[in-house]
Every structure is written in C-alpha cells, then in structure tokens.
Symmetry: C2
Subunit: 376 residues, 2 copies
Amino acid sequence: MNSALCRKLGIEFPLFAFSHCRDVVAAVSRAGGMGVFGAVLYTPDQLRTELEWIDAHCGGKPYGVDLIVPTSLQRQEEGGPSDEQLLGALPREHLEFVESVLARNGVPADDLAERRRALLHVSHNLNTAGAEEMLDVAFSFPVRLIANALGTPPQIMLDRAREAGVTVAALVGSKKHAERQIAAGVDILVAAGGEAGGHCGEVSTMVLVPEVVSVAGDTPVLAAGGIVTGRQMAAAVAMGAAGAWCGSVWLTTAEGEPGQRIKDKMLAASCSDTIRSRSRTGKTSRQLRSAWTEAWEAGGPDPLPMPLQSLISEPALGKIEKLAEGGHEGAADLATYWVGQGVGLMNRMTSAGAVVQEFKQDYLDAAERLMATLEE
Amino acid sequence: MNSALCRKLGIEFPLFAFSHCRDVVAAVSRAGGMGVFGAVLYTPDQLRTELEWIDAHCGGKPYGVDLIVPTSLQRQEEGGPSDEQLLGALPREHLEFVESVLARNGVPADDLAERRRALLHVSHNLNTAGAEEMLDVAFSFPVRLIANALGTPPQIMLDRAREAGVTVAALVGSKKHAERQIAAGVDILVAAGGEAGGHCGEVSTMVLVPEVVSVAGDTPVLAAGGIVTGRQMAAAVAMGAAGAWCGSVWLTTAEGEPGQRIKDKMLAASCSDTIRSRSRTGKTSRQLRSAWTEAWEAGGPDPLPMPLQSLISEPALGKIEKLAEGGHEGAADLATYWVGQGVGLMNRMTSAGAVVQEFKQDYLDAAERLMATLEE
C-alpha cells in the first residue's frame, strides 16, 4: 500500500501499534507497520533503555513514541508537587477501600506502600521538568512519529518535533478535540472511539471517524477504538481514514505485556466484557471487567484526579497481577487491564508479526467482499 | 446490487429504513430500499390505516413492519393490567418531578392526565391479546418483513411469519442475543451498536458487527447504530454485513416525524450531543441531549419499568413538542427525540428518497476509496 501517509513515514502498511512492550513495537515495525512505544509509565532512563533496544531490533524500520505531555505544561510549577505531598494527598478512605477489596479476595496488602513509592516517577513525567526530560530522550533517537495521548500537545513538543522533522500525532475523541488539534498544528489525528481500551470518550469509532474526517481537511486521520482485525481497518479506510491505530490487539500476542492469566481472560472475553471507569487513572478509561472493576462500580469512593488515582490503583493491580500469575485464584478474579471492546474478537494467541500479516490479508478480503457487492 | 438478501426480499439496495412515519417507509421502498414501519405506538386500527396508506403509495415495492412483541407473551395474563391499575401504579414522586421540570421551563402541565390516557393503548400492545391483534393486522397486508424490536420473537410470531412466507428480523445488541435469536430461528439479525438511537446496548457497531457475523453462519446480518451515510454502510459490508438498518437518518428528512424545532436541533448537533438514558421508556435508549434529559440525569427519580415510564415521559414530551413547534423557548430547550450518535453527520435537510440515492453514491465512492488503497 503506497498511500501518501505510508510514503511520508516510510512504512508499507498504515497499521499503527501502540504498545507499552518494546517487542511488539519492534515486531510491528519490522512487519511493515509502525510500532509506537507507549512511554508514560517509564522513567527517562528506562525510556532510553527501551528505545535503544527497539532501535537495535526494528531492522532499520520506522518507529514512534507516545507520551502524555500535558497541554498546560508551561503553567505548572517547575518541579510539581513533592513525593511527600503526593503521598499525603491520598485519602484514607481510598487506601482502606483498596485494602478491603484485596482482603476480600485473600490478597495481602503488605507491600503496597513500597509499590506506591516505586510509581512516583510517573507523576514526575507530567510536570515541566519531567516531560522535558522525556522529550530529550525521545528526540535523541531517530523516531519518525511522536504522539500525545491526552489533549493538545504543548508548543514545546510541536516546536521540537518540527525541528527534528518528526511527525506529530494526537488522539481525539470528539469533533471539538479534532478542531483544537488541527488549530495547534498536529500532523496526524487519531480518532479514538469510545470502544477503545484505555482513556476514551463516548463517541463510537463508526461515527467519530467520518465526523473527524469531515473537519480534518488534508490532515490524515487514523481510526482507533475497537479495531483488532483487518476487516475493521478496511471499514475505517472506506469511511475516509488513512489507516488504523490499535492498542488492544497486541495484548494477547506472545510478546504482549500482560501476564498469561490476564491474556487468558482476554482470549475468553466477549465484546460485552469491558467497562469504562475512572477507577484506574482518575480519567475515564476502558478496562476488562473483573472483580476489581466491579468492586469500584458497586461501592468504591469517587476516584481522585490524575495522577493520584493511579497511586491508589496501580500498586494494588501490580500485586494482583503478580499473585494471579502465581496461581492465586482470588487475585485472578481481580486481575484486569486496559482493553477495548474488540477483546471479543481476540480469541487466539499469536505473535505481533503474525497479527500484522493477518491484518493485511483480512484487509484485502474485506475490500474484495465490498467490491463483490458492486459486481453481482 | 444483486445480493442473496436483495433477491430474497425483492429489493435493489439493502438499506432498511426503520421509521414511525409512513411517508418515509413508502419513499424508501419506492427508491429501492426497504421501508419498515415502526408500529409500537399505534392502535391496531391506526396500524391498519397506516399500512393501507403505505401499500397504496409504495409503488408495489416490498415493505415491512416492526413491532415490540414480548418474548414472554404466552406467560402474561390474557388482558394484562387494566388502565386504572396502570395509572394507579405511577408514583407521585415521578409525576411531581415531571411537573417541576415543566414548570421550571414555563410549560403548563394542564393536559398531562388527558395525554396519559390517550397513550394507554401502547401498553395494551405488549399483552397477549393486544400483540395478537397487531399481528393480525400486520399479516393481513402483503408485508415482506416483520421485525421484533426487543428480545426474541415469541413462537406465535415466528409460526405466523413462516405460514405467511414473511421474513423475520430481530434486533440484537450482543453476541449472546445473537446466539439466542439464531436458536429461535429468525431469518435476519440486526446487529444494533450502542451508538444507535432508541433502545440500545453497550457494544459499538464497529465491534458488534464482526462479532455477530462470526456466530451468524448463513443468517444475514444487518448493521445498525450510528449509520447515516453510504460510506458507513460500505464499512459495515466490508466487515461482513449484508446491509444496513437505519432509523435516525430519516428524522431530519422533510418526511420525518419530529417537529421542525427538533429537526433543527438535530441538524445543529454534533456526534457528542446524545445520551443513553432510561428516563424515556424504562429501558436504556439513546436520545438527543436536552434540558429534559439533563434534568433526569441531574436529579430525576429512578425510572420505572416498561410500560410505566412511558406513561410518565410521553405525555410531557408530547406537550413539549407541541409548544416548541409554536415557538415556546422553554419547551424548545426541553424538546428531545430518540436519535443515534450519527446525528452529528446529519447536517442538511433533504427527502427520504434523496437519502437513499445519496447512500448509493456514497457507498460506491467508499468502495472505490478502499480499492484505490490496493492499487496505489
């Protein structure tokens, strides 16, 4: 496929793989797509290590990085709140609720405080100094694409990308977002429907894609949200998208970052087995339904704003995943991860490279299916 | 387009128009699609009148009827609750809430009781005797398709359709629904995504269509939910659908049943301007966001089960629409109607026949756009 977007980025097939797992990123780029490394959970040093690995394993093919760089970066305090301020801001009610959910499922809460401290760097990434450090690391590699996962990229990110000749993508969940991003000057819009895993809006991919395309002018639009097969990618392209941006489909590959118990739950799930909730990050994100998400829906305290809610949820979920992998049944019931409604179509474990090849074939078949309706 | 489904039903283009407006039904059938008359709000006598009109105005082309026939028909009392029992079951809290919302917007509640009595026949349609009367009327016309809007059709509906050689369609919002309908023996599945107007589930069209297709075997699947353009219909067909089932797009045609003030609100709305709520019928249905839906979300009492909630909402909404059409601003703020997220793509008033022609052209263009990506 030799579209304008493919030529611009030097890729063969406009399938973009958002993943927190370097193996997925490198495998997808090698297979002709575009791997995009989701870096928000890493420290600058970790990001450097991961990008070095990707650079060495992507066979010289293009790859990208996805950060959460707040729009209002310049308005925040240089250093942001201290670690002690953050920890002190966590209400007893939330901490005790998590402990009660764990206790009910026989999961010890012994090392939550330690796990919490290990996560403090994530909030650092959301401050000016931290975000600039992450940008420094990203731009020290020959990345071809940089994406901002939440909101309009700040001017500094756009300026540095221009300077380095790097394409800027931004996620949008509504027409209003899209208009704002175009005014800011981003190069690619990722129209992410409400069925997407992770942070998502309410408008579905089927309507958001044509709506965003209608205001995007010459800016290419990638379709995201629920897309885990080539036929869905073909559907998006028929509606005017320039390609697809997928996150969930890589989770059940051999390389995907979730533990096997979570992968097994995903492979068994239907499209009805996800839930949108603020309980993981403080903003609405879509996750696999589990005893953990049910507990928050049934009677959890009101989730805290970012980044505080992650300091409540992530230590517990890290512990849960570890025990679930060891065969702990209570933990396995609680285990969850971000995933879109497309999870119901992810029924077979495979490899990231094989997913790209299957997408290509399924895309072709879908185009032929559509053409056949004109010929009959 | 000469697909198996088109041949089976004797239509030219597999675009199905669900509408409560006879003009839309006849116009779409005449234009080569399949008009399906939504009959749930009518009495048997009214249904006969409407079908006589459609039969006389559809140019001999096929048309269908959509009813809500409860699965558990046979288990209900023959006659169902009496009118006085139904009216007596409406809590004072709900009646007073509606009056307070109207009062806040300067809408007099003078004739609500009278409007409520005029609606009692709708609940009659949900009982055995009433539903059989509706089926008697429907099958006295040469309908080609009969659809059940909620749940699995009862055996009596399937048997009578078989006997009359009428194709049976049923709406499904999840894989589980689809499996149940196939087991019951329906001929066409309408996979209705969560972005649909009216009653809807949570799974989006983009994932529900391939999920339902994967379990449907030889049963044709129509895509519904958010589809208001030919490019979206093409997208659905690329994913394996046999056509599209659309309700919202007809609302802003010249023939569409809403008043002009509601049409104007729809034409101005974006895809983000709808809301799923139980406040209209007791079951979750998607509607245009308005001061009415906001009031229920912000502090309304818990909606009642079907058919009681309709006896709370419809009299008020009927009054609101009437005043809104007369230029009453408070009523115009409250005015709402069922519509899907595709409302953001409905930006120009046209005619139902013209919508069908635009669908055909847009479908062709979308197929060519997809094919072009393979040729480049």
